[in-house]
Amino acid sequence: MAPKEILKIENLTTYFYTWAGVVKAVDGVSLDVREGETLGLVGESGSGKSVTALSILRIVPRPGKIIDGKIIYKGENLLAKTENEMQQIRGKEIAYISQDPATSLNPVFSIADQLTEVIRRHQNVTKEEALKKAIELFRLVEIADPEIKIWNYPHQLSGGMKQRIAIARALSCQPSLLLADEPTTNLDVTIQAQILELMKNLKKKLGMSMILITHDMGVVAGVADRINVMYAGRVCEVASTKTIFRNPLHPYTRALLEAVPNVAMKREKLKIIPGAIPNLISPPSGCRFHPRCDFAVAECASVVPPLVEIEPEHYVACIRAKEFMENGKGVKK
């Protein structure tokens, strides 16, 4: 029995029309988020993770445009909705936490103002009630002295505190789906762990689903149920977190995992992925990873590998996936 999906994206295509040319930031991405799960969206910067999240909310900044695809949320296509309908969904049904807590709060308004504003937008409450709710939210995200802190302005608070507030704002209307775009990237390592723990607990408490966007394999390992690896605007591998870490099949996923420093590694040189993410105005033909891939064959440059289910619940977009599956790490370069 397949678990129920809360969000299903099919063939999402988002392009940016810049002076230099069309940037194919997200090019035919399909993914699904199941009820109550945390989906890790992993990839290097520039792989289209954030644009995917912004596309879900339909707030891709200019000159970006969603060209094609379907975003089915609770059975309804979000791309067919009007702007007004979308405003009712944003923040209420699907919430978003952006990557930099330092800049995600408006510097010229008090925290109370920014929180009650969202609460009053989606719930029919008075100012006083909204304020009470905001203070409860502060308790929820474990901020001390909520009655005083709520009157502060962003510049008076630390980064960790700001991220807690950003989380509080995102959760203010009990969304069913939370999009967390690198929520811990700009925080100190100690604070990172706290915030992740907090998000994990809140997710359980409120019964939300979550898409966690990150480039940090360590973060997804601890939080995500399933992982979706993206490269240059396309999905290359989808599987449960366990499978991804135990049996990664796509060469890019493997390279990513090898690039994570490990205490057990002992003086071994840390592997890096040669080259950089391609220019998405004129991306490589065929498999977009082939110019950087150790296992590339001639065919890789011409054939766009489809995402196929190589074993139950494990999807890989690589024409040599079967070989990797059968021979493990013994495949020749």
Binding site: M86, R90, S98, N106, P107, V118, E147, I148
Partner: protein, 346 residues
């Protein structure tokens, strides 16, 4: 009402109180800082004018019958024979009593305070009208242009503004007078009032004022419009890129709230700076406009006084302009603190 809410309100009012008192302190500190600045400017201008020449020589130079003794007496009469520091202290002492001296040249020694009062009103009338209209027009246009960046509308606005910034005001003014006064005859050539009440349109003094104000105000508005449009546009573009705008949109706030609450408040900070600086420069920059439209304002008076070495008028207007500039700075600082809490609460 439950006691919890009451406690909460008590804390809120307490914090608002602290914020307010820190605002008061902020304003007082700014005011204190202005005093030495004011006297510094005064000293520089006072010394500089006295080095510019001898007004008695200028007044009597073309009159061959004036004797050296008469010149001496005139110099004594104006107090110009005294040492400079004495003249300055005397000036400050009289200024503190509200007396800026009498003009050497205008209508047999009109008090400078009266002169400045009369002329300043005309300058304010013109400049404030133009400034208000240009802000009212420029801010929405700038916002619109930024929201539709690189669209045809944006291109048109940007190009027009650039051209507008490049045309000097005296040129625009003369062309406007040529077209609307000379060829079409719709507006007067200049001045702020009709001298003859029978010429008032509809016999109304107010209508006459507006009739005279229209052309210079429109020209000034256009001249001020262009840079403000460009400033609002670029500042808005910068703000719209920020994460908090994305976050506000992601919270489902309406586009109106996102633009006019979240973005505009931040985008206005540089505009406040500009207007503050402009307001200061407004009085100093006015002579050209006032000359073109023969407008009886402070700027024109200033230029004429300098030409006649009319010391009391020069220093009097300097006192006035300095006070205005400092006042504008104070207002700017207060506006900053109002807009941006990072300045208000340290």
């Amino acid at each position: 009402m439950p006691s919890k809410t009451e406690g909460f309100h008590a804390i809120r009012s307490k914090i608002l109180h602290i914020a307010k008192s820190s605002m008061t302190k902020y304003v007082l500190r700014r005011l204190l800082y202005l005093i030495p600045l004011f006297f510094g400017i005064l000293i520089i201008v006072f010394v500089a004018t006295r080095m510019a020449g001898d007004p008695v020589k200028l007044m009597t130079g073309l009159n061959p019958r004036i004797t050296a003794e008469a010149r001496e007496r005139l110099t004594q009469y104006y107090g110009l024979d005294q040492p400079l520091y004495y003249q300055f202290l005397k000036f400050v002492w009289e200024m503190l009593q509200g007396n800026l001296g009498n003009s050497y040249a205008i209508r047999g020694g009109t008090p400078v305070t009266t002169l400045v009062g009369d002329y300043a009103w005309e300058t304010f009338k013109l400049q404030l009208t133009a400034l208000s209209f240009s802000l009212l027009i420029a801010i929405p246009i700038g916002i619109l242009s930024a929201r539709k960046q690189y669209s045809k509308l944006d291109m048109t606005v940007t190009t027009t503004s650039l051209v507008g910034t490049c045309i000097p005001i005296f040129y625009m003014g003369i062309v406007a007078i040529l077209i609307f006064s000379y060829f079409l005859g719709w507006f007067p050539y200049g001045a702020a009032h009709s001298l003859d009440p029978s010429r008032y349109p509809f016999g109304s003094y107010i209508m006459d004022e507006l009739w005279h104000l229209f052309l210079p105000a429109v020209v000034l508005t256009f001249a001020e419009l262009a840079p403000v449009v460009l400033l609002v546009r670029s500042s808005m573009l910068e703000v719209l890129r920020q994460d908090y705008i994305l976050a506000a949109r992601a919270s489902g706030l309406s586009e109106r709230t996102v633009i006019y609450k979240h973005a505009l408040r931040n985008a206005l900070i540089p505009v406040v700076t500009y207007v503050g600086l402009y307001f200061g420069g407004m009085l100093a920059g006015a002579p050209i406009t006032e000359k073109v439209f023969n407008w009886p304002g402070v700027g024109r008076l200033y230029v004429e006084a300098i030409g006649k070495l009319d010391f009391p008028v020069i220093t009097g207007i300097t006192v006035f302009v300095t006070l205005m500039v400092l006042f504008a700075n104070l207002i700017t600082d207060i506006a900053y603190a109002y807009i941006d809490p990072r300045i208000r609460i340290e």
